[in-house]
């Protein structure tokens, strides 16, 4: 059932079992999961409509500080389906090491392990329209044998891991779940409904309602037994900070942790240029389709190497290779040509020493890295107001020395293993071989907003507990990448969907145990 917020009676109070704020990957997945095997009534509030509109999108606008980030009203989409409407579809679970507390990564460690998430990752695969849930080295290696002798040599490098990645169609959540969202058995979806404040009881320990407003001036309330905040890695924190009517500093923010530990995936494109002398690029740099699902591989560092050299997780990928003359003419965004005349002379030199390098193909290499959690990297509220009169966000993205060291080591390591195997040579971008003090200005953001309501075993170290519940607030949960304590190097969507499915199971079990279940009927639209 889908309705417009401006058609809800002013000051009406809509009651339900679960109120979900935000209809993106997390919010819609949660609504869909709750619709299976439970009678919970669900209200799904979406700030936007069915299509992108500039006035709603402008609510995302904010101020940027620190390392370069994409404008906040461009990196996210504020309409039904959320940012999945421009999702690229890259999927891979976080590696087991990503969940561990690592002595060399301050503030690392999840309160749960990969093995606990595995069943949910498997279910998330169906949601994300992926192939079999198998990313092990056996599966990765299966893509390699027989390619070339040199390619196999690369895969056998002791500290190198082949990182298998699946690419979803990509799934567009609003489209995939359109029947459920519009039908009688799904949630009650209210479009153009902006959560203005989450209002707790006088003790601040239990949410009583969500104050909902529209850009046209309507307002109403949603009262639920449980509330789930699913508005993305920046807005989840923003809405908690804005919800300060009872708790100074914002809901769930007694320890000043909301908004801190903001992370993205620092990357570099190009990170390097690989000249392949060998057909190993057919596996390393070409995406294949298996039953409609894209499969490709990157290269990463083993857990042992990360631990031994005290580095962050990262992986390098190559774009589809092209003839060298074509690549030599290519300009990449604001960069000058990726191959300069001296590079072409270098290729000629290498080919002169080994005629077997004659049929070279060139590929742009890019990298995505984990970011070390940093409390000074954060989302705060600024002084500028949006059209609803709410304070806009200030995003201050701060990277640390560990990121710089990881980038530098990764550049050398990947160039070394590529050269050693004989499949080709990699030209590393010069800034990765020097100690530029403003190196962080070279880094590109990954469009992934992570960590601002981090999950922890106790309230001294995080905003939500291992179930996603806000510490000290009995009936408020957070879904999405904002709960990740660490970011890994891979896109967050699959992991946030897995965590959301886990949260859905928890809410269903909680309803069964606590008697909060009610007939799974959307409240009538006349309210």
């Amino acid at each position: 059932l889908i309705q417009e917020a401006d058609r809800v009676r002013r000051d009406a109070r809509i009651r339900c079992d679960v109120c979900i704020i935000g209809a993106g990957a997390a919010g819609i997945t949660l609504a869909a999961e709750l619709a299976e095997g439970s009678d919970l009534s669900v209200v799904l509030l979406e700030s936007g409509g069915k299509l992108k509109d500039p006035d709603t999108q402008d609510l995302y606008r904010g101020e940027l500080r620190g390392a370069p980030q994409y404008p906040l009203d461009a990196s996210r989409l504020r309409f039904l389906g959320g940012t999945t409407n421009h999702w690229g579809g890259m999927c891979r679970p976080f590696d087991p090491l990503d969940f561990r507390q690592r002595a060399w990564v301050p503030h690392s460690g999840w309160p749960l392990g990969r093995e606990e998430l595995d069943p949910f990752y498997e279910r998330a695969h169906a949601v994300c329209d992926l192939g079999p849930y198998d990313y092990g080295q056996d599966a990765a290696s299966a893509a390699w044998p027989g390619v070339t002798e040199r390619g196999a040599r690369l895969a056998e490098e002791e500290d190198l891991e082949i990182k298998l990645v699946q690419r979803s169609k990509p799934t567009r959540w609003a489209k995939k779940y359109s029947d459920l969202l519009a039908g009688p058995d799904g949630p009650r979806v209210i479009l153009h409904a902006n959560a203005y404040q989450i209002v707790p009881d006088p003790t601040g320990s239990r949410v009583e309602e969500v104050d909902v407003r529209t850009l046209q001036g309507n307002r109403f309330h949603v009262s639920a037994k449980n509330y789930v905040l699913a508005t993305g890695g920046v807005e989840n924190a923003r809405l908690l900070l804005l919800s300060d009517s009872v708790v100074p500093g914002g809901l769930g923010n007694r320890r000043d942790l909301v908004g801190r530990f903001f992370m993205d995936h620092p990357g570099a494109t190009p990170f390097g240029v690989v000249l392949f002398f060998d057909r190993a690029y057919e596996r390393l740099a070409v995406e294949e389709k298996h039953a409609g699902v894209g499969v490709f591989t990157g290269i990463g560092m083993s857990a042992a190497m990360q631990e031994r050299e005290r580095l962050l997780a990262n992986a390098a990928y190559m774009y589809r290779p092209m003839d060298v003359p074509t690549l030599a003419e290519l300009r990449w965004l604001e960069h000058p040509k990726v191959l300069d005349p001296p590079d072409l002379r270098m290729l000629e030199f290498l080919q002169a020493l080994d005629p077997g390098r004659g049929d070279a193909k060139g590929s742009i290499c890019w990298i995505r890295s984990e970011q070390a959690p940093n409390p000074e990297s954060r989302v705060t509220l600024g002084s500028e107001l949006d059209a609803l009169g709410q304070r806009r966000v200030v995003l201050d993205w701060q990277l640390g020395e560990l990121s710089q060291r990881t980038f530098h080591r990764a550049a050398r390591f990947y160039a070394e293993v590529i050269a050693r195997s004989g499949i080709g040579r990699m030209k590393v971008m010069p800034w990765l071989l020097s100690e530029e003090p403003d190196w962080w200005q070279r880094v590109a953001a990954g469009w992934h907003h992570i960590g601002t309501t981090r999950m922890a075993a106790d309230s001294a170290h995080g905003v939500v507990d291992p179930d996603g519940r806000v510490f000290d607030v009995d009936n408020l949960f957070v879904a999405g990448s904002s709960v990740f304590p660490t970011s890994s190097y891979i896109n967050p969507t699959l992991t946030l969907v897995a965590l959301t499915i886990r949260l859905a199971d928890h809410l269903k079990a909680r309803a069964s145990a606590g008697g909060v279940a009610a007939p799974r009927r959307a409240p009538p639209p006349s309210q």
């Binding site: 002379r345 030199f349 002169a352 020493l353 070394e416 050269a419 590393v428 971008m429 010069p430």
Partner: protein, 123 residues
């Protein structure tokens, strides 16, 4: 180390290693000249990368043929294919052992760097 034995020119037979010779500058110069010419024939003019300062052509030449007998060196000088095969094998071993350096963003083996230096020195 065979190089401790030194190099002399064996007239009419290219460069041969003769145990007991003194490793004179004359033999170094000849090795540099002969090997440089062979490499310059392989490497098109203007393509050899600049190399690290401090390395001299005699050092590069000695390193390139280290461990080879006089007959083996003669064979390299006589056949470009043999020279290439030698450079490839030695370059691969360099990379595996970490004997490499960065030049304009590229990782080159010590052998490749020495070959570049010698080729340019011969022009």
């Amino acid at each position: 180390m065979l190089w401790a034995a030194g190099w002399v020119l064996v007239a009419g037979h290219g460069l041969g290693l003769i145990a007991g010779c003194d490793g004179s500058s004359a033999s170094d110069e000849r090795l540099v000249r002969e090997l440089g010419a062979a490499l310059a024939a392989l490497v098109p003019q203007g393509t050899a990368p600049s190399t690290a300062p401090g390395r001299t052509p005699p050092q590069a030449a000695r390193a390139l043929v280290e461990g080879l007998s006089g007959a083996e060196i003669d064979a390299l000088l006589a056949a470009p294919a043999a020279l290439r095969a030698h450079l490839q094998a030695r370059g691969g071993a360099d990379l595996a052992a970490g004997r490499s350096d960065w030049v304009e963003g590229w990782l080159l083996s010590r052998t490749e760097l020495d070959a570049a230096l010698l080729a340019e020195s011969a022009r």
